[in-house]
């Protein structure tokens, strides 16, 4: 039965084209720019190609589940059949070994249940002696159910964002902004990068996607590059990411260094399959080293403490870019990478503990900062950091499936919230400060409705997407340590509070408008509101892929039980779940977190329901609030501790270069220069001086000749 199930709906080679469609779109738009086509049309190649990718991804989600279910089951049971079926894709020898032993299958802790597709040989490792003309790092794609989940929501959310951008990147008269076509080209490139990152089958290709994503974020955050703050934010994002990526690169190097001696000929020590197969043969110190270095990369890319500072500044980019970065194509990469490498991380409890501690710090810190901001998009940015920290806690607690579940639900409601905030911003003349407007619910009804769904989902309101995934993480964190669980619950309450503080300040109270909004602000065009509604449906219902409808004593409200389809789907991918993290009934916890979410919303309603002009919290909390408002002075601290010393070092190097090195060169050049200055006096242009010189020269030559002849005999 399992062997039959392995036949996929579409050929795997077709899925392998998925990332390249948006790239094709980006190239077409690039050609349009080169040929000076009209800017208004620039959206269609990107929308069309991302739509193709999204459609492929929808089908792929089913096939990826089949592949994973078959491969992970097949390794235990039908080894021979699996060997026959897997011949097209099996480039790596790992499973071949398992089946060659003929039924003596020992449970490997690191299962590698996916299918690897080799696109082409990419980088030669330069060892011609080893096997068949040397070893190669191939461009490989790796398909399993984790890939399926990621690529599914990434392409879907990207499609919604791209459609929304058609309307967003225009002014009120429908004329495209300057750089409209450039924007779409970058969006296509961004989706391509993220899809490559998700599909990558080895660490080198993963790193390529990783860096491409960083590049695209730089290009898009700095989209309004004439604005100094946007240019600075782009640089900040790129440089902070670079710090993380440096660690990530070192992690990949150490994988190569440590795993290489264990591999047999023909095995690439950078393939996921090979690494996960041999990871348990490494020394604990080696695993910890690899884990910490990889984590370093994830901290930068996923904007976690202490490398989160770039994310709030990244709000300088256009709102669809924020939505894309926060929901689909950038910050999820770190979570995905850790989940993908969970065989590595699960092997080192020390690294897991570090992840939990950093996650808890990030979650609480970002949530408190979010409570004291007025920039709508910044509130959402801090909320993203906080939610990503939730996912990190889940990863650290040994429940990466819950982390991936939260990434998936979070993508819907966070994209929705950013696009909603963008809609507000678009109609308010690019003003996003909550102090400058209120009561927009009457002017922007569609935005208000969809934002309400998004806010409820983010707040963890019962039965919406965020509730299910967040509750699982809280549950896992209680299994890890009660203190972590309590902090997670507190963060959940704060999340509900700041989300609805933002919502009430924006949409409730008396209608106030900024001057920039113009005379008659109105609802955004349908090309923007329809993606909002689609995402709102996702934000409401996405969570039901992770719950089971079942009655009984352990069910929420008597008929819903956590741990659903999604978890079964992910089961068998590279994700390693600590079963203890899910053990025990957490029903009281679900009711408690539901209560906290509703309580947070109610508290926000009491304090901000009328959208007061003066923030009541700033009066009540006083000094604490101003620390939150100043973001714990972390930016200032980094400025003092790192930026200024480094700038000083730069000045020192510059001075040494200017005075020391250049001075040395000046001295060296002074010799010919002085000689030249002396000889230049002789060349005075007077014909008679030259004649005299010639005469003296000839006489001298004759005399020397005579003297030499006399001396030489």
């Amino acid at each position: 039965m399992l062997a039959q199930a392995s036949t996929t709906l579409l050929p795997l080679k077709l899925y392998a084209t998925l990332p390249f469609w948006p790239l094709l779109g980006a190239i077409v738009v690039g050609l349009m720019i080169a040929l000076r086509a009209r800017a208004e049309r620039a959206w269609w190649p990107i929308v069309a190609t991302v739509a193709v990718s999204a459609l492929l991804a929808m089908v792929f989600v089913f096939d990826a589940g089949r592949i994973t279910a078959h491969e992970s089951g097949g390794e235990a049971h039908a080894t021979a059949a699996q060997h026959a079926v897997g011949e097209t894709s099996r480039e790596v020898a790992h499973a071949g070994e398992g089946s060659a032993t003929g039924g003596e299958w020992t449970p490997e802790p690191a299962r590698v249940p996916g299918k690897t597709i080799t696109l082409f040989r990419w980088i030669s490792l330069g060892e011609r002696t080893s096997l068949q003309g040397g070893q190669w790092i191939a461009a490989t794609f790796y398909f399993d159910s984790l890939t399926g989940v990621m690529i599914g929501f990434v392409t879907f959310v990207s499609l919604m964002v791209v459609i929304y951008s058609i309307g967003y990147m225009r002014d009120h008269h429908g004329h495209p902004e300057r750089g409209y076509e450039r924007f779409f080209a970058f969006l296509g490139l961004f989706v391509f990068s993220m899809a490559t990152l998700v599909f990558a089958g080895n660490f080198v290709l993963l790193y390529l996607g990783w860096e491409l994503v960083g590049l695209c974020s730089y290009l898009l955050i700095g989209f309004y590059y004439p604005k100094p703050s946007a240019a600075a934010a782009a640089k900040k994002a790129f440089i902070v990411n670079r710090i993380g990526d440096f660690g990530f690169a070192l992690g990949i190097f150490s994988i190569y260094l440590f795993v290489k001696p264990l591999t047999h000929a023909g095995e690439n020590p950078l393939d996921y399959a090979v690494v996960f197969h041999y990871i348990h043969q490494l020394a604990p110190g080696q695993i910890t080293t690899i884990g910490l270095l990889l984590l370093c990369g994830a901290l930068g890319k996923s904007a976690q403490f202490p490398l989160y500072v770039w994310l709030p500044d990244a709000m300088e980019g256009p709102s669809p870019v924020s939505a894309l970065i926060h929901a689909a194509t950038m910050v999820t990469a770190g979570v995905y990478m850790i989940a993908r490498c969970s065989p590595i991380f699960a092997a080192s409890q020390a690294v897991l503990n570090v992840i939990v501690v950093l996650g808890v710090i990030g979650a609480v810190m970002a949530a408190t900062m979010a409570m004291a901001q007025f920039d709508m998009k910044r509130i959402l940015a801090y909320s993203t950091i906080s939610q990503l920290a939730y996912m990190f806690v889940a990863l650290g607690c040994g429940a990466p499936d819950s982390g991936i579940f939260h990434v998936y639900t979070h993508a819907f409601f966070k994209a929705l919230l950013f696009l909603g905030a963008g809609s507000v911003m678009h109609q308010m003349g690019h003003v996003i400060d909550l102090r400058k407007f209120s009561g927009l619910g009457r002017i922007l009804p569609h935005t208000r409705n969809t934002m309400l769904v998004g806010c409820l989902a983010l707040a963890g309101f019962p039965l919406l997407a965020g509730f299910w995934s967040k509750d699982e993480i809280v549950h896992a964190s209680f299994q890890y340590h009660p203190a972590v669980g309590v902090l997670m619950l507190a963060t959940a309450a704060m999340t509900a509070y700041y989300t609805f503080r933002m919502y009430f300040l924006c949409f409730h109270g008396p209608t106030r408008l900024p001057d920039e909004a113009g005379e008659h602000p109105h609802e955004s065009p349908r090309v923007m509101t329809i993606p909002l509604y689609v995402l709102a449906v996702g934000a409401a219902l996405a969570g039901y892929l992770g719950v089971t409808v079942a009655g009984g004593a352990h069910s929420f409200l008597g008929f819903l039980r956590p741990h659903g389809l999604l978890h079964h789907y992910l089961h068998g991918s590279t994700i390693i779940v600590d079963e203890n993290a899910h053990a025990g009934g957490g029903l009281w916890l679900m009711y408690l977190s539901a209560l906290l979410a509703i309580g947070g919303i109610a508290a926000a309603w009491l304090r901000y329901g009328t959208a007061p002009r003066v923030d009541p919290d700033s009066i009540t909390l006083g000094r604490l609030w101003s620390i939150w408002n100043a973001k714990y002075y972390v930016d200032e601290f980094y400025d003092r501790a790192f930026v200024r010393p480094l700038r000083g070092l730069g000045r020192l190097c510059f001075a040494i270069d200017r005075n020391g090195i250049d001075g040395l060169i000046w001295v060296v050049t002074a010799v010919p220069r002085g000689l030249g200055a002396g000889l230049r006096l002789i060349q005075n242009g007077a014909m008679q001086t030259y004649a005299l010189g010639m005469a003296i020269g000839v006489t001298a030559l004759v005399l020397i000749w005579r003297w030499m002849e006399a001396a030489g005999g």
Binding site: N684, G685, A686, M687, A691, L692
Partner: protein
Amino acid sequence: MLAAYLLIGAGLFVLGLIGFVTRRNLIIMFLCTELMFQGIVLNLVAFGRYPLDGHPTLDGQAFGLFLLAVAAAEAALALALIVLLYRYRDTLDPNVWKLLKDE
């Protein structure tokens, strides 16, 4: 006898050289170059008449005639150049022409 001819030749040449270097008139300077020519021609003719191996030939005189012809052609060219230069600057002083000087 050879030494006397050579001394006169050398004297003509040195007189011409001194004149060329010291005078401030292009035509005089040109005449001085002619003087140096004649010193050289005298040397050639003297070596032809009193060769070191003792067998006189006409080679020296042939070279002398040849040089005179060349000098005549050169005189025509040089005088034309001097006229042109004079037209540019209204003077025959060679020191107004210092275009080869390094600035």
